[in-house]
């Protein structure tokens, strides 16, 4: 991978995070709990995506992001009111943006027509002529008052307001000020057109993103000779210095023939991370000082003209300067200019708020292969430790001896290391959950339902091997919950429910497993219909008496579908049977609880990791095998009268009035050619994926143990009847039985001939 590709990969990783932030922020706005910071965060997310995409020349992405950004900028500067309706539109826009990102990544396509339509819709919000509507919701909400306000303040000055919103919270405030000095206004023509004053006040984010004012100044100097003045008056004493904070501000005199645009371009990369003011002309030091003082302690006499009355900034050569926190207000020092300076009326210095929204905890990106290697090594350590313990036991060393005690400590340490290492791979289910709101929106749109997704326990942690495989079953269950579970808004109203259905997705830990719940408040499972469909499709016999629970479980049967018509969402031939199979492949179980008229709950119970497995260690023909505990229903020692022959060779086991086929594992796997009587051994009653039961005959049970799963395919290949391998305490390899394959192997009419040479080489 060349360097650019590597950077691109990082960019797309960041895009994932930014898109998640964007969606999170928009959802908050839709809930009506988004404040100015949320709007800013949303803006920054789109802006960063656009910036990165621009660097890689991803044209369509940049174009769409630009339109989106323009609207967000307008929201940020209060030109477009921040309403719930707008948030809903922007949520859809974020979906389109996500599509653009995926397309740029080479995953999937963008519906360009839909993208163009979305862009057009976004534009109507910023273009008042096209859409007078945006202001309306506010007016409606606040009724009469709003109407007057809207009339009185047509368009707030964008520059001033947006800077207001951008205020960093580090203890001092910056207010761009426009000075309306008559003489200056008169002399406006005389101001040399090539002299500019640029005021830069960096925020901490600027430094966090590894930008540097020095670099910005260097860039500025490319436009022409510059004179930079640093204002370090805000610097606190060393002991109070926050190394991450930004204290120093700059005032730069630039002599250039380039226009304002060229200057602004220099700051393109740090937009939002620093306050910037570019004005034509020179800022006299006195005026600057005056402004400083004014900003802190505006004289009561100084009129505060509303922003709308400000003259156009570029025309009058004002002096925007940073206001230091240090208050030194000798009012008499302020020259006359200060008296008429437009000190914005509302300039509260937000000095108290310290929780700067930053990147949060520090995170290390690590190649997953390194972690896998570490996990392998710890697995070896665990095995080695067990091996040592076993050897020591064999030598009959007293448990009170130093050696045995040291070994105990080693065991404890090993276990702790194993837990910690497994915790490295543990990730919150958030990464899967955060894709779901979009899915719910899309499915609701497609089916004409109104659905709200409530998520719970997003921070529940699971091993990454499990996380990667959670997405499909959850997606499927949510789709089902909306498409089949929820009623249409009209039906809901008729039933006296809120027309908007609620779908709840929750994750929690329960006794060493992760439980995922998908709950809807819809109509519940229509058992009569389920039953009639199952009978009609020949899945069950018509005269079967089933409990409610058994009927509910019929929807897991392959080929079952309750949808009346084939919709866009379901009816693609993928049913709940697929969900069940994928869950079982993960060593999990799925169950349903449904109450007519009140809704259904699907519950998934999954192991926390696929790296270890709970198994029953058994002996079969001198070989040690591990049977996954999840498949075992019970183990028993059969009595002679419970074993009944059936046909020439087969036999069944009577278990509480039902008959289960007996399978000798040793025979099936080819470890032996004749089967001992089942009554001499033990029987494990197991349940296969499809619910079929079998009684596996083994010679002896050693007990239950957690085993580290090792791949056979890595160095060899898949072996029928074997799911994987593990390493036992004595260092030997034991095979983990694939229960389903063993059942199927036996079912086959002509089993594969077993190589006669296969022997346990001892």
């Amino acid at each position: 991978m060349d360097e650019l590709e590597a950077i691109k990969v990082t960019f797309f990783q960041e895009c994932e995070e930014l898109l998640a932030d964007l969606e999170g922020g928009l959802l908050a706005m839709q809930e009506g709990i988004g404040d100015i910071e949320t709007v800013n965060a949303v803006f920054r997310a789109v802006h960063s995506i656009k910036g990165g995409a621009g660097a890689f020349g991803l044209e369509p992405l940049v174009r769409f992001a630009h339109v989106f950004e323009t609207l967000l900028d307008a929201v940020r500067s209060n030109e477009v009111p921040n309403t719930v309706e707008l948030a809903a539109v922007m949520l859809r826009a974020s979906d389109v943006l996500a599509d653009h990102v995926s397309a740029a990544r080479g995953l999937g396509d963008v519906d360009m027509a839909a993208s163009a339509a979305m862009a057009a819709e976004l534009k109507t919000w910023t273009d008042p002529s096209a859409a007078p509507a945006p202001a309306a919701p506010v007016a409606e909400a606040v009724e009469t008052v709003a109407a007057t306000v809207a009339a009185a303040a047509p368009t707030p000055a964008p520059a001033a307001t947006s800077d207001d919103l951008d205020d960093d919270d580090l203890g001092f405030d910056f207010q761009p000020m426009t000075i309306t000095v008559d003489e200056q206004a008169a002399d406006a023509e005389l101001i040399p057109s090539h002299i500019w004053t640029v005021s830069i006040r960096p925020k901490s984010d600027l430094y966090r993103k590894a930008n540097e004012t020095a670099l910005l100044l260097r860039e500025l100097s490319r436009l022409g000779p510059i004179v930079a003045t640093m204002d370090e008056s805000a610097l606190p004493p060393l002991e109070f210095l926050d190394v991450e904070a930004a204290y120093v501000t700059w005032s730069v005199r630039v002599e250039t023939d380039h226009g304002e645009e060229a200057i602004r371009e220099v700051f393109e990369f740090v937009d939002g991370d620093c306050d910037l003011e570019i004005v034509r002309g020179e800022a006299p030091v006195e005026a600057a000082l005056a402004n400083l003082l004014n900003a802190i302690d505006p004289p009561a006499a100084a009129p505060a003209p509303p922003p709308a009355e400000m003259p156009p900034v570029a025309e009058v050569a004002p002096a925007p300067v940073e206001a230091p926190t240090e208050a030194a207000p000798p009012v008499q020092a302020a020259p006359a200019a200060a008296a008429v300076a437009a000190a914005p009326a509302a300039a509260p210095v937000k000095a108290t708020q310290v929780d700067v929204p930053g990147p949060g905890q520090s995170v290390i990106r690590v190649d997953p292969e390194r972690i896998d290697r570490l996990i392998d090594l710890v697995g070896e350590l665990v095995i080695n430790q067990a091996m040592l313990a076993q050897r020591v036991g064999e030598y009959g060393i007293a448990p009170s001896s130093n050696l045995a005690m040291g070994l105990d400590e080693l065991e404890q340490l090993t276990r702790e290391i194993q837990d910690s290492v497994m915790a490295i791979r543990a990730q919150p289910v958030k990464s899967v959950f955060q894709r779901m709101p979009r899915l719910v929106r899309e499915v609701a749109n497609m089916t004409g339902k109104q659905a709200r997704l409530v998520m719970d326990g997003e921070n529940t942690e699971v091993d990454k091997t499990v996380i990667e495989r959670l997405s499909d079953p959850i997606t499927h269950m949510l789709r089902n919950a909306i498409d089949h579970g929820l009623e249409s808004p009209e039906e809901r109203k008729a039933a006296g429910k809120n027309p908007e259905g609620v779908v709840r997705l929750a994750a929690l830990h329960r006794s060493g497993r992760i439980v995922i719940e998908v709950q809807d408040d819809g109509k519940g499972i229509n058992r009569e219909r389920v039953l009639s469909i199952a009978v009609k499709k020949g899945l069950i016999s018509p005269d079967l008496q089933l409990t409610d629970e058994e009927i509910d479980n019929l929807i897991f049967l392959p080929g079952f579908s309750t949808a009346d018509k084939i919709s866009d969402v379901s009816g693609r031939g993928v049913g709940m049977d697929v969900v069940k199979r994928s869950v079982q492949a993960l060593g999990g179980r799925i169950s349903i609880a449904s109450r007519p008229g009140l809704g259904s709950t699907f519950t998934l119970s999954l192991p926390l990791t696929l790296a270890v497995l709970d198994g029953m260690v058994v002996d079969v023909a001198g070989e040690t095998l591990v049977v996954p505990l999840a498949a075992i229903v019970e183990s028993l020692r059969p009595k002679p009268e419970e074993v009944r022959p059936l046909g020439p060779v087969g036999s069944v086991l009577a278990v509480r009035d039902s008959f289960v086929p007996l399978i000798d594992v040793g025979l099936t796997l080819g470890y032996r050619t004749t089967s001992p009587s089942p009554t001499e051994g033990v029987v494990l009653l197991v349940e296969g994926e499809d619910g079929s039961r079998a009684a596996l005959v083994a010679d002896a049970i050693h007990g239950q143990r957690q085993v580290v799963i090792k791949s056979l395919e890595q160095n060899y290949q898949q072996v029928e009847g074997v799911a994987a391998a593990t390493i036992l305490g004595d260092g030997r390899v034991a095979l983990i039985l694939d229960v389903d394959a063993v059942i199927n192997l036996r079912r086959r009419e002509s089993p594969r001939p077993v190589e006669p040479t296969l022997i346990a080489a001892e």
Binding site: D376, L377, G379, E380, I383, E623, T624, T668, L669, G670, Y671, K710, S711, L712, E713, Q714, N715, Y716, Q717, Q718, V719, E720, G721, V722, A725, I727, G731, R732, V733, A734, L735, R752, V754, E755, P756, T757, L758, I759, A760, A761, E762
Partner: protein, 155 residues
């Protein structure tokens, strides 16, 4: 990855030779990871007879192939002096069970003669060439061929 079987013909190569029954074979030293004494393997069901089973190699599950059986010769019960050579073949690591390791050879490729046209198919496909040194006949094993094809099992 560096493929040890494709080395420029003029370069000198080092090979490790070993005995299988009364015959001598060798593999490129670059493919050899280690040589270990025999330890009992866990038998794998549903596998060809030359697969001795799997052993634990520092946490990895290593399949052991009986080279004699793979070449179609009678299998000899391993004893304490038997060894297996851990070789890297493609992305797989496999142990080859042999009777004893005999030598390290340094050869030029022009010392390698093409495999004579013998009747046995397995020999023709598994032997890359034959090296004659000091009246010994040493056959070079073609590692990429000797492993069984990974077959996709019907799910």
């Amino acid at each position: 990855m560096f493929d040890p079987t494709t080395v420029a013909s003029t370069e000198r190569r080092e090979l490790i030779s070993f005995r299988v029954g009364d015959q001598e074979y060798c593999v490129n030293i670059m493919a050899v990871r280690e040589i270990r004494g025999w330890s009992p393997a866990t038998a794998l069901p549903q596998t060809p007879g030359y697969m001795r089973g799997v052993i634990n190699l520092r946490g990895a599950v290593l399949p052991i192939m009986d080279l004699a059986a793979r070449l179609g010769m009678p299998m000899v019960e391993p004893n304490v002096r038997s060894v297996f050579i851990v070789v890297q073949a493609g992305d797989r690591t496999v142990g080859l069970l042999v009777d004893a390791v005999s030598d390290i050879l340094s050869i030029n490729d022009d010392m390698v003669q093409p495999t004579p046209d013998v009747a046995c198919d397995t020999v023709r496909s598994f032997v890359r060439g034959i090296i004659s040194i000091e009246d010994r006949m040493i056959s070079e094993i073609s590692l990429d061929r000797i492993l069984p094809e990974r077959e996709a099992l019907a799910a």
